[in-house]
Symmetry: D2
Subunit: 352 residues, 4 copies
Amino acid sequence: MIIMKKEATQKQITHVASEVKRHGLRPAISEGKFRTVIGLIGDESQISFTHLATLPGVKEVKTIETLHKLINCEYSELFYGKGENSTIKMGGIEIGGNEPIFIAGPCAIESRKQLFRIAEEIKMAKAHILRGGIFKPRSSVHSFQGLGALGPEEAEEALSWLRDAGKSFDMPVMTEVRGESQVDLIAEYADILQIGARNMYDQDLLSKVARKGKPVLLKRHFGASIEEFLSFSEYIAAEGNKDIILCERGIVPVGKGKSLTRYTLDLAAVPVVQKETYLPIMVDPSHATGRRDLIFNMSCAAIAAGASGLLIEVHYNPAEALVDAEQMITPEELKRIIIASKRIHKVVIDKN
Amino acid sequence: MIIMKKEATQKQITHVASEVKRHGLRPAISEGKFRTVIGLIGDESQISFTHLATLPGVKEVKTIETLHKLINCEYSELFYGKGENSTIKMGGIEIGGNEPIFIAGPCAIESRKQLFRIAEEIKMAKAHILRGGIFKPRSSVHSFQGLGALGPEEAEEALSWLRDAGKSFDMPVMTEVRGESQVDLIAEYADILQIGARNMYDQDLLSKVARKGKPVLLKRHFGASIEEFLSFSEYIAAEGNKDIILCERGIVPVGKGKSLTRYTLDLAAVPVVQKETYLPIMVDPSHATGRRDLIFNMSCAAIAAGASGLLIEVHYNPAEALVDAEQMITPEELKRIIIASKRIHKVVIDKN
Amino acid sequence: MIIMKKEATQKQITHVASEVKRHGLRPAISEGKFRTVIGLIGDESQISFTHLATLPGVKEVKTIETLHKLINCEYSELFYGKGENSTIKMGGIEIGGNEPIFIAGPCAIESRKQLFRIAEEIKMAKAHILRGGIFKPRSSVHSFQGLGALGPEEAEEALSWLRDAGKSFDMPVMTEVRGESQVDLIAEYADILQIGARNMYDQDLLSKVARKGKPVLLKRHFGASIEEFLSFSEYIAAEGNKDIILCERGIVPVGKGKSLTRYTLDLAAVPVVQKETYLPIMVDPSHATGRRDLIFNMSCAAIAAGASGLLIEVHYNPAEALVDAEQMITPEELKRIIIASKRIHKVVIDKN
Amino acid sequence: MIIMKKEATQKQITHVASEVKRHGLRPAISEGKFRTVIGLIGDESQISFTHLATLPGVKEVKTIETLHKLINCEYSELFYGKGENSTIKMGGIEIGGNEPIFIAGPCAIESRKQLFRIAEEIKMAKAHILRGGIFKPRSSVHSFQGLGALGPEEAEEALSWLRDAGKSFDMPVMTEVRGESQVDLIAEYADILQIGARNMYDQDLLSKVARKGKPVLLKRHFGASIEEFLSFSEYIAAEGNKDIILCERGIVPVGKGKSLTRYTLDLAAVPVVQKETYLPIMVDPSHATGRRDLIFNMSCAAIAAGASGLLIEVHYNPAEALVDAEQMITPEELKRIIIASKRIHKVVIDKN
């Protein structure tokens, strides 16, 4: 990690970056409020830190002993100044800011009409961002895989519905990118690119998505330790994309017999991630529990644990949803959750 | 499960119970607000349900298909009337009632002076119940095992401090029973008998403790599914003791590398247990996280998830605690937690 | 699942397939030794089974109630005749046949010289297939990612070494495909395409690799239940590719403290998979344990559990390996393992 | 750990032990083939190592940095001489010696006749030790808890059958101790005292059983890391009882959906424990898998992993067993397993 002087010139920064490249590493240049910091990506044993420290414009060369160097708090302090976290601003919304953010919508987009109706209803419930699945990751090849599976034209049409619904109801939109071949198309339509839990370990996908330069929401894999979660989000940061939103959505259940929840929601991951990195972290209680009757409680708990927001699956008629019907809630229930969440957020913020 | 008529006489109840015994089963007689219900403990194939249904005073014989029959909600409805949960009242406190209850104190009692100072400070912070360990379960035989390990006299002396501190500051007291040989002694001094997570599967201990007739706080083993947790708490109910307080304190971490929390706090267990049983459930964020810096967040989250209260380890000088120093918080921090918890509890209750 | 009559004509088969397509499903046509079977991929509610049953050449239409229909044993019986498993034949080797198969080589290919030396030494140790990583999945973006990360030319050069080493020492070769963009290139050079544990859930990659028509070795994700493992291997079968080799390589460790092995090798998965499917299953003790000193024991145990073979990482000088040095064994140790494995295999086979 | 000189006198040893006691620790005196070693149990900060090192007869004072000091290999080397493991000899059998040992019998003893018939049949199959449950730990209070639950007389009668069956067929006998109140009674009848997985963390029970001075078989709890397993077996060693047989019987399953085996058999625990301690370790494939059709494979795998023997549940008519019917095998199957195991054991031993 090379920390440039406040007064370092663009030319000096470029020179340092080219020196880094010359030794076979990649420079990750971050222009902060206070100064520019250049992260080193690759095998650091190939380069002399003493040499780097003597280049013009360089203030200091620091080693950060962790797998997640680019997103960690120490780095944040260098870069933004003490204690300030990174927030992501878009369309009047600030993710990681002073208010919890609510991302809602159907698990799978089924039709233009379904999507618009849900968009309108979640907007009235005060949700901020619209989500809807087009390329659905499914455990079984024999299940409905989303409209994206029907062909490129159907996929693009569904994407245009999503974009239009967002515009109509003044909400940024998010959808999931499941494979590398979908990245270019989806990036044309969505404001936030979601990488689902099943793909968290897919580093080629992470890199390709990151290079689009748009905010990325990365869900924790249900088999991943927090350390691995952070280590893989570093693949996004390594492409120079710091607009990363992390999302806890439950880890594999342990224990004998059938689990009474789909996954184990690990809410302690929220404050732990906040202490380790400068990134915002949200929670998805829908996939974690897989049970409609637990969403209210676990939403409140997530906000109380300090989450920057929630991802909740909503349908005006949960019973008829094509995917994950048993975990959908109604817009009315969403409204109750948002109201309670905001009140709880205030209580928690007071202390900190 | 034999449901007696409202007007059933004591004689009829006794007769039914003796019929149950005659067939090799044990009757668990529960006298509710509305009617008496007799649970059957043992191999039900030994008895004819038709025969039972025709005994005088019997309204109905019902089969409940679950491992935890005696503590489940359906039973509760029969017994208490629709939707009413069991609460445990003691010394002006109601566990499982309208207010969250806070149990606090040192992990291990070290001296009379230490205990009285902590008792005074947690009382000022508005805690309700005092806890302190005398027989400490430890992973290593080479670690400090609590004052109880020094001998019977030292154990009794420490127990008398606990009783006296409770009286001095007007709080019921709780301490852990780790082995069968400690049950009689501890039951003389403590108001609530705690069975620790490590002993959850120790059915002989559960039965013996239950027979004392005092409220029992049972912690979930870190390797137990929720189903097993409930199934083992049934060992307490089977002795006719319904004053059971369940406690979630984290399950084994999964995943590669060193976990960033000691255990995984499974907060979804709170609403799940509440839907399955009529028992109150509390949360212990101290042992679950093992990290002082996470206690505030996870306490708020637990209350938001619907917990009936919290168990928190407190020391006026955390650094000098003999056991679990890194997870102790100060009385000041406890006070902040109690204030925030009460506010969050109100938000959550509003909905339900 | 449509079972055709033995005497069904090609025309009849094509007609049935086109009927399946007309209803929005995909037909998976498998020509067996005895008869042709057509699996249905997609939403089966869209098609009338009665209609299908009356088409010319159709013997029977059967529903198989499982997530892994195409690879399961019942299907195998229809297709191959009672009890016969699918085997994969290549270059004089039969995977899933009467002899255990040994796949060995370096974790990462470092140079032509390194690869050829290892190839020669494992051949002398009686290994059957050469493996070597070019696109290495790594937990940290800051670690060595294999020669493939240096650029397309370097990747192709490394692939040509692999192909050449295979030819020189008369062994089929296998390497890992980590991202969709690598599929076409690797399929030109490798005989078996490996999908690593981290990518098991990446259904787009699975489908793309499967369509190459070459044998695919799929490793179980460390967070996957056996059911999910089989359910995702079905994505390969759904492309008409039945040359699937499954591989157990350990699941996430559970429990407090640092695990003494990298993952938990779940050897019971071997007989379980053999009872559920007709696919061969191998074991990778190297990644599962992460410890050189456990490879011999766990290799023997895997073969005793019934595995069709082993994947073992080998280096002539383990200490200097760039990746996973601590789990590499020497060719001499490999030889001892192969000798012991063959003897154990004989003992186990005797019974069955 | 105090290592005495070879020529140290009994008086010197007694003196050192009394010095240890004087400082509030307990001495664990082990008289080895070569020398006496005195372990320190308790808080070592209370004693000066320099002072101990200067006492007459003391060769050296060593610190062993691990939770399992008394059972570890380094200690074994001091005590027995290089590389020699501890074995347990009884009635012509050597556990941990050159031959694998087979412990077999019914899950629960149902009658004298049932037990004698099984004892005879397993003896003919070449099993070495007879086991049978009298006090059965059960997940549900409503399940059959073994004959021990019927009362003290029935328990003693069942114990006498076990002792008599052992004598009749010349096999040592083992049964499970589930609670502290059963220790004295069982120790009068059984040759090996078994502590079940559910009780592994019950340190009071471990200590009380250990003090009987008979060999103890301790099963790993399904929620325990290997480190915890060893750390709790140290509670037995701390009572001066080194005749400890460890037993791996599966850990909690992880992952979504219903597990296809009851627990995950962690066979790598076998070589890991052998590298960490000098204790023999056996494997129980019956409880680990819960499936009769997997016992043969997992038994072979356990022996191949290096296990010192197996615990297998056997019934002449598995279908009619009162407990765990689905995991019982017949004596004929046991015979096949013993024959295969002995052959595999020879292959594995050859290498080491």
